[in-house]
Amino acid sequence: MKRTLLIGKETHDVELLRQDGVTTFLWDGAAQAVDIVEVEPGCWSVILGGKSVDVRLDAAKNPDPDVQGFRATLYDEPYEFALQDPRKALLAAAGGAAGSGGTLTAPMPGKVVKLLVKDGDLVTEGQPLLIMEAMKMQNELRASSAGKVSKITVQEGATVETGGTLMILVAPEAN
């Protein structure tokens, strides 16, 4: 099955053909023989042109439900790759992309130690918004751009998970 590969802003057409014990990988139309074996659950040993590469795949959440995301780990460094069924890509292109709001989310699980702003405050880029504690280290979370605090969704002392919403900022123009 043909798929579209997304690596950052790159896209490539890819397809794996298995025939008569030979596996061929098509990359934007160019064919190359690969020898590919799942050696451990989620761990693939790939030999191509003699090079031996060990790839570990972890599923990664992709904001687009039609895109299959994987976090590939190469020598203990993760890289995000995503694959898309090209038919779905066409459909997706027809719709509009929702703009992402200024939501401050928790970068790790931890405890909210102190809120440094309150609802309605105007904040400048880089201004500290709240202090989180995890593993005995206190970390300041700062505003990524100027804006207005539209809603604070946590209280001091609250325990939050990774990705949990902490507060919502709106652009000053939206005021």
Binding site: V34, G42, C43, A59, A72, P78, Y79, M108, A134
Partner: protein, 497 residues
Amino acid sequence: MPVTKVLIANRGEIACRVIRTCREMGIPTVAVYSDVDRGALHVRMADEAYCIGPAPARESYLVVEKILNVAKQSGADAIHPGYGFLSENAEAAKLFEANGITFIGPRPESIVQMGSKTAARVVAIEAGCPVVPGIQETMSDEDLLLEAEKMGFPIMVKAAMGGGGKGMRLVKNAEELKTGLPRARGEALSSFGDDSVYIEKAIIQPRHIEIQIFGDQHGNYVYLWERECSVQRRHQKVIEEAPSPHVTPEMRAAMGEAALKVARAVNYVGAGTVEFLADADRNFYFLEMNTRLQVEHCVTEWITGLDLVKWQILVARGEKLPLTQSEIKLNGWAMECRIYAEDPDKNFMPSPGKISFLRTPSGPNVRDDSGVYEGSEVSMFYDPMISKLSTWGPTRLEAIDKMRTALGEYRIGGIRSNVAFHEVLMQHEPFRSGSLHTGMLDKPFWKKKEVGPNLKFAVAAAMVAELDDEERRASQPVGSGDGKPDAWKHWGKFNRL
């Protein structure tokens, strides 16, 4: 004093480390654990294990009475505190001894004398050991500001009862001091239960070099050479090595003797570390004394061939130090990388979670001191250090290249770790040349490796193969399988038809 059954009042890698030596010596071990640590490696490794309460350390690992009760219940006649937690708690040590249980550590009086950094400075000055210029006592924010202005910026703010870099920060001007003090006090309070801080003149591009010392109950002392721990981030040691590339034989002897002066001044018994700052001219200044086993004791073990935990137990038993100063070897070079559950791509934020995959390096001259296993949880309640990887080589560069190779074999899945960061460091020229200072990581140099065309190709092929396999399986009726259970395919949950 007998040491026939040891309770380890700690968790993680250091608890496992102590268990290993006890097992080698034929001494049964008792683990304690908080609710979230029920499945932790130290619980599985120990001969006995007892729950001591909820996850927060102050409700479990820091509750002296609970530890004492487990010791009584299990019949342990000695307690090894590891590092952190109760290791420098003189009251705990006193209580254990009062109950006839040997505390594997220094006498409580020594802990007290060295426990307050300001008091320790006074001891060092009186013992004739050089110290960094600074104040001798804790004071209010206002007085600290006045003293700082007198001393001149930059200055260091430090927790009086602290250690391990927590609550410590470099402050470049009065404004920073004002905003930094409350935060430093907050961290000091939450980490050490005491919000006292003090200030010292900051040494420019200092090197952190420390001397491992040992004393016994018979007044004998030795120093087991130095370790350099200048590679730090946020005042936390990241890489340690022994010996130090900065130290000459003369400086080594001078530092060793200075360290023993401090140890003798407090009648020190057991393993201790005297920390110094050194400048480019090889002047060195007493910083503090850690009255416990250090995280980085492994590198000293590599170059001396000694087991420091074993020595701690021998000394606690009342035996004499096994070797005299002239019998202690300095053989080759050792490196240690602290493997943290943290995300180099997100400014090294802690990355707790379940370790879904784990392969640790081995082979010649590689040592991994781990506190985790595949499937275990790295909890947000404790220190994010999951392992210490150490290597040895005849020379410094050989130890570094061995470390680079070992890091390349390390695989940790499910959470992020700083393994790849360490790999980059091992190839960083200032590090390789030995030009270390405690601020060397302040300017970020970490950059993810580029994925070349071949690697992209390989990853893409693996991804497509994985999805093709999944879809093939999903399109087969349930139970029509080839006898191979789908069980181990942990991707199943991502099937989308």
